[in-house]
């Protein structure tokens, strides 16, 4: 009797900016079949789009090239495959950079890079609007036409199908654009186990496995509140690994001799992270039911997950649209004991009076007192911050008019010499005025989006 086939998918990046050491540690710390690297948050596509406008060869997560370099021997010599949504708005350029790095490192011919395209709807926006797709904001119901002239990126969230296609074509590295985070984990399981397109329970299990590891170490002891003091050796934290079987059951674990913790509690905290309606976690491939999850300990740093059910996918894809939405600036000063909070509050009144006298009205002005109310607001209680050794005064403004926001940035530092006493922490000088790129979630008919897969060597 042969042992049941187990496929190991290792979470190696949870966002763009995650720990650079993680991919190499996942590739070398023990057996894994796939490395899964998630780079894209809601606003990342717009940042990448801006980079591509300046340089046509940019527009992808450049960290990924370094990550590939750090795991190159595992991929080239030991058969580890890599799935990443590092392609951003330029997956072809990302693939070219990875292949060039491999050639320079003497691994020419060792990589077959599958490139998934077709998620980028920006060139098609006007055609889509003209043919009756309103791309209404899912939160507000407003039609996209009201911000059309300010749109800078539009990408459909794509699912597992093109990733499975790339693996079937022999790719050992798959680079996508705006793939869903969870598809990056579910797709290799679907490919390995041959799950059918309507095997809803197994597809849902793969999606939930993906949800658990898509934020990297946030399921293996990172950012874990439960008995946080007892979580050992965070400096050497192990990133998560899913060990999946053909029936859709899986174990969440991490490599031996790493820090952190995989327990029912660490995994449960990640399961509820960014959750909406738990009965209907909607993805392009399946609607997963989080109320069906059974979770149990399975030995040290092992948690078994089973019993997951799913429902048929919808006929829509979510679209992530980014548009320019004015400007903002946030500045701060630090006030010291005695009476730090009172001094900071006086500074706020003085600054607001000066803004009034300048006739500057903003769409939004927000004052916070870090050390008193910045994280929990009035819930911190009436005495919060009263005896604090220092309080940071933090004020931000937002407006469509860049000039007004820039004028605001000049009003903070003068308070050091012409406002309340015992003030410091102004070394940064004037705050920076930032353009706001806002997020517009919408839905579109699935039939409108066709993905393409190309394998490059």
């Amino acid at each position: 009797m042969t042992a049941k086939k187990v496929v190991r998918v290792a979470g190696a990046q949870g966002f763009w900016g995650d720990w650079l050491e993680a991919p190499r540690r996942q590739a070398e710390g023990g057996p894994v079949d796939y490395l899964m690297l998630d780079y894209l948050a809601e606003v990342t596509m717009s940042i990448l789009q801006k980079q591509k406008e300046r340089d046509p060869s940019a527009g992808y997560a450049k960290d990924f090239v370094g990550a590939m370099e750090s795991v190159l021997s595992g991929v080239a010599e030991r058969g580890i495959k890599v799935i990443a949504n590092a392609g951003g708005v330029n997956p072809e350029a990302c693939a070219a950079a990875v292949l060039e790095m491999a050639r320079a490192r003497g691994a020419a011919g060792k990589l077959k890079v599958g490139v998934v395209t077709g998620d980028n709807l920006l060139p098609r926006i006007d055609e889509l609007l003209a043919s009756g797709h309103e791309l209404k904001n899912m939160d507000t119901g407003e039609p996209l036409s009201i911000v059309r002239d300010r749109v800078i990126a539009a990408n459909a969230y794509i699912g597992s199908v093109p990733i499975v296609e790339a693996l079937t074509k022999g790719a050992n590295v798959v680079i996508t654009g705006r793939s869903t985070d969870t598809a990056l984990t579910m797709a290799p399981l679907r490919y390995e186990f041959g799950w059918a397109a309507d095997d809803w329970d197994k597809l849902a299990a793969g999606i939930i496995a993906g949800h658990i590891i898509e934020c990297g170490a946030q399921c293996s002891g990172g950012n874990c509140l439960y008995e946080w003091r007892s979580i050992e050796n965070l400096a050497d934290i192990g990133y998560p690994i899913v060990e999946a079987q053909a029936d859709g059951t899986f174990v969440v674990t991490k490599h031996p001799n790493t820090g952190g913790l995989v327990s029912v509690q660490t995994v449960s905290e990640q399961l509820v992270y960014e959750m909406g309606d738990p009965h209907a976690y909607i993805t392009p491939d399946v609607v997963a039911d989080f109320t069906s999850i059974h979770i149990a300990p399975d030995g040290k740093n092992r948690v078994r997950v089973h019993g997951i059910t799913g429902k048929p996918a919808t006929d829509k894809l979510k679209v992530s649209i980014a548009y320019r939405s004015g400007y903002k600036a946030v500045g701060s000063l630090v006030y010291a004991w005695p009476d730090a909070l009172e001094k900071a509050q006086l500074a706020d009144r003085v600054l607001r009076e000066r803004l009034d006298r300048l006739g500057l009205k903003f769409e939004q002005v927000l004052s916070e007192f870090v050390g008193a109310n910045a994280t929990h607001g009035p819930l911190a209680g009436p005495d919060a911050g009263k005896h604090a050794p220092e309080v940071q005064y933090r004020i931000g403004v937002r407006d469509a008019d860049k000039k007004k926001v820039e004028r605001f940035t000049r009003e903070i530092v003068p308070l050091v010499l012409n406002g309340p006493p015992s003030v410091t922490g102004f070394a940064g000088g004037r705050p920076k005025t930032e353009e706001i790129v806002a997020y517009w979630p919408a839905l579109i008919d699935k039939t409108v989006v066709q993905t393409q897969v190309t394998v490059l060597e």
């Binding site: 509690q265 905290e269 509820v272 960014e274 959750m275 738990p278």
Partner: protein, 120 residues
């Protein structure tokens, strides 16, 4: 008896647009029953009065001994628009754990629920 959520549950929060979600998980499986009974939508809405501008939705996940709350209008517009320190709702988790609920003495002592101490 007054019971503070911090003493009977753990939590994690995140964002989706201008909505913060808080997943509230019982520290012990047997404490899920009183949590689901007494941590109602209305009580959570009252707790966050003055902190959020929209309504509250509540979902039950008995399989995880957890409740999920959606707090609308929590993030000053959310995402890149927000001017808040906590623009992504990361610490609404512990803000909910400040909540104190009244649980009948007999029920609380049968479940060995710890009484709320002096507020820190």
């Amino acid at each position: 008896m007054k019971v503070r959520l911090l003493d009977i549950a753990h939590a994690r929060s995140g964002d989706k647009g201008d909505t913060a979600n808080v997943g509230l998980i019982a520290l012990k499986p047997e404490w899920y029953a009183p949590i689901s009974k007494y941590v109602t939508r209305d009580r959570v809405a009252a707790h966050f009065t003055g902190v959020i501008t929209g309504g509250v939705e509540r979902y039950e996940l008995p399989n995880l001994n957890a409740l999920n709350f959606l707090l609308h209008g929590a993030l000053d517009g959310g995402g890149t628009l927000s001017l808040k320190t906590d623009a992504q709702g990361k610490v609404f988790s512990t803000a909910l754990l400040r909540m104190v609920v009244d649980i009948p003495d007999a029920e609380a002592s049968a479940l060995k629920l710890p009484p709320a101490g002096e507020s820190p």
